[in-house]
């Protein structure tokens, strides 16, 4: 049964030179990749020590996709994400403090600690919903796309989800509906080659997800998700088309999961050469090398970014650990807007 997974793209970073963002953006991208990587690792550490009791879904491997997303999306754009949302949340500029405090279930979290790691939301910063249900974000994005279209706004909606999520019915229904209504939605498939413990080729008869989705009559393309510039171009193009009324796109960002599926889960089943090949392209360090070698950002600045990232992560965890727990009356709060007469048990 265990089939071949799609090869990790060997492509170089040629695309990187095409549409180079300005230096501030490049620095922001590097910083975001680092924050994602380091916060992920720190959270796993805390969990391992028994100090953090939360479901954790590492984003290691997706750092470039998330950083590209952050640059590609405009402030008014909206995003729907999943349980694997740390990088997505950073791409929407949500403070790491609020992200980590939510993981600790504290009032300083994005959702007062009542949602948890799978349910970060920040309407102001355009992270409208995150779902713990595989594939369920796509219909939500269709709805947000409809709202954006009815508003005649220049908002575009990006929804992120995994390769495995393309199996589920809601995905197919959403592709068709978004295409039919020409909604300003960009379906960003974070293809890390695994759905929990099952590789893509074992659950998809045609593992070319972009090809499969193109058949719905929407724009579909695959991109090397380890290449932040290529990814930026693909997602940016899709957002532009969405805003121009040219309808939805499906962008398959081909990456690789660099850790187990969740926080502390086993990853011994991963083929070692595959993982080694992917780790050789680990987004943050690779990006640093590229930035430095091509003279986009100097070493001193990059060192400074790294130093700041370390401090930001420390600060976020310290903040979270000191943030108050929700008070007992939070249990019954926020269930209804108008709870008169509604049961309490």
């Amino acid at each position: 049964m265990r089939g071949k997974v799609l090869p990790v793209h060997e492509a170089g970073h040629d695309a990187m030179t095409n549409t180079l963002p300005d230096r501030a953006a490049l620095e922001w991208m590097y910083s975001t990749m680092l924050l994602a990587k380091m916060a992920d690792e720190r959270a796993a550490d805390e969990a391992r020590k028994g100090l953090l009791a939360a479901a954790l879904y590492p984003v290691r491997g997706l750092e470039a996709v998330c950083a590209a997303m952050g640059v590609a999306m405009a402030p008014q754009d909206q995003m729907v994400s999943s349980y694997r949302n740390l990088g997505d949340a950073l791409s929407r500029k949500i403070p790491l403090r609020a992200i980590i405090a939510e993981a600790y279930g504290r009032m300083g979290g994005t959702s007062k600690g009542k949602g948890g790691t799978m349910h970060l939301t920040d309407n102001e910063r355009g992270l409208i919903a995150t779902t713990g249900i595989v594939g369920a974000g796509m219909p939500l994005a269709v709805g947000l796309g409809l709202a954006a279209q009815l508003d005649k706004s220049d908002r575009a909606i990006a929804v992120t989800f995994g390769d495995g999520a393309t199996s589920i019915g809601a995905a197919h229904e959403s592709f068709n509906l978004a295409a039919l209504w020409k909604l300003p939605v960009v379906f960003v498939c974070q293809n890390n080659q695994w759905g929990e413990h099952t590789p893509l080729a074992e659950y998809a008869a045609n593992p070319n997800l972009a090809e499969r989705t193109a058949a719905y009559g929407l724009h579909a393309e695959a991109v090397d998700g380890f290449d932040p510039m290529a990814t930026l171009q693909s997602i940016g193009g899709a957002l532009d088309r969405a805003r121009a009324g040219e309808g939805p796109s499906f962008i398959e960002c081909r990456s690789y999961r660099l850790t187990g599926h969740s926080g502390l889960s086993d990853y011994s089943y991963v083929p070692t050469e595959e993982l080694a090949a992917a780790l050789a392209r680990d987004p943050a360090p690779t990006f640093r090398t590229w930035l430095e070698q091509n003279g986009h950002v100097d070493a001193a600045t990059l060192d400074q970014i790294e130093q700041t990232a370390v401090e930001t992560v420390d600060d976020a965890f310290a903040f979270a650990q000191q943030s108050p727990h929700p008070s007992p009356d939070e249990l019954m709060a926020d269930v209804y807007a108008s709870p008169e007469g509604v049961p309490t048990r």
């Binding site: 949602g115 709805g143 796309g145 709202a147 009815l150 019915g169 229904e173 959403s174 007469g341």
Partner: protein, 342 residues
């Protein structure tokens, strides 16, 4: 909310007409109101014609026919609500809500809570309980599931006036509402309905008929055989009939007030009796009125069977079965015994 015109200007309407009228008013009042569903646009205007004329009047943008994708209809409604709209989603038969449970239960009902109050999803889901001539997959009454789900409100009107007033309340309520219609009543029940805007608040039961011997608590389509049964027993047993109208919020106070007088109650509903709404009402009444009741609160719901197609087999309460249930309770009263031992 009741405008001057509404008090004076009324019209005979079916329940379907009342729905159409409520939707028309809501679309006119607030451009954030939109409607989504299969076949809802003109020329058809919905399989029950409840949206007839609305796409022509308010535009195909706001009255949108969809493919056959129940879970994505609801998901789209939730997304549009998160985007600031007040979507009304029509799902023909309630049984098809099974396709959309994830979006209703895991998303619409929980969005406000999981976001710490920031992301409410005030959608209205309209769905209909069908008729046994469509068979077991088009005739289930599933209100009990939604009552059991925190975060939702549940409304089930029995007549055109309430239907319109409750639907308008539901659309402008800031919480997600499951609004349940009964196919059997859609065209057959008529009544005078104000043509203007008015609201029937969620959470207020109405006493449809006063009586002193027994309180019959019901809602939705079962109101009609219940009223007929009460009528038929006139002179023999004096039956008070309460129409709950909404199930969440549940107006238990009106029930308690009545049963504290009659000391006998029966809850009648079209959904399965076991683990259904009647158990909740009975348990609450027993709790509030313990030691003061003449007999235990009785239930008369649907049999523990799928809905049979044959119209000779009755799984849901009928006028006759309600009369029988009331008499049984009365009998039990007389001999003070469990019915099985009579």
């Amino acid at each position: 909310m009741t405008t001057v015109e509404s008090a004076t200007d009324t019209k005979q309407m079916t329940i379907v007409a009342a729905i159409q009228n409520a939707l028309d008013i809501a679309l006119g009042l607030d451009e954030r109101v939109i409607i989504l569903g299969e076949d809802i646009a003109d020329p058809i205007g919905g399989v029950m014609k409840a949206t007839k004329g609305l796409s022509t009047k308010h535009g195909l943008d706001r009255v949108r026919a969809t493919p056959i994708v129940e879970q994505t209809i609801i998901g789209t409604a939730v997304g549009a609500a998160l985007g600031g709209y007040r979507p009304v989603a029509e799902i023909m038969f309630m049984d098809f809500l099974c396709q959309a449970m994830d979006q209703i239960i895991n998303h619409a009902a929980k969005s406000r809570y999981m976001s710490g109050g920031h992301s409410p999803a005030p959608i209205v889901v309209r769905a209909m309980i069908g008729d046994s001539k469509f068979g077991a997959q088009h005739s289930q009454a599933l209100e009990g599931w939604f009552m059991h789900t925190p975060g939702l409100k549940v409304v089930m009107p029995s007549n055109p006036y309430d239907t319109k007033g409750l639907l308008l309340s539901a659309i402008f309520d800031d919480d997600p509402v499951i609004f349940i219609e009964n196919m059997g009543m859609s065209y057959s029940i008529k009544g005078e309905v104000p043509t203007g805007d008015y609201r029937v608040p969620l959470g207020e039961a109405s006493v449809l008929r006063e009586g002193s011997d027994i309180t019959l608590i019901t809602y939705g389509a079962e109101v009609h055989p219940s009223m007929a049964a009460a009528q038929a027993l006139e002179g023999e047993i004096s039956v008070e009939v309460i129409d709950l109208r909404s199930l969440v919020p549940l107006d238990i106070s009106t029930c308690v007030r009545s049963v504290s007088e009659t000391k006998r109650a029966i809850v009648v509903h079209g959904s399965t009796e076991f683990c259904g709404p009647g158990a909740e009402v009975a348990t609450q009444l027993t709790d509030r009125l313990f030691g003061t009741l003449d007999v235990p609160v009785a239930r008369h719901g649907a049999t523990y069977t799928p809905v049979p197609f044959s119209q000779q087999l009755h799984s849901t309460p009928t006028e006759e079965s309600i009369i029988a249930a009331i008499r049984t309770l009365r009998q039990r009263d007389a001999v003070g015994q469990h019915p099985e031992s009579i």
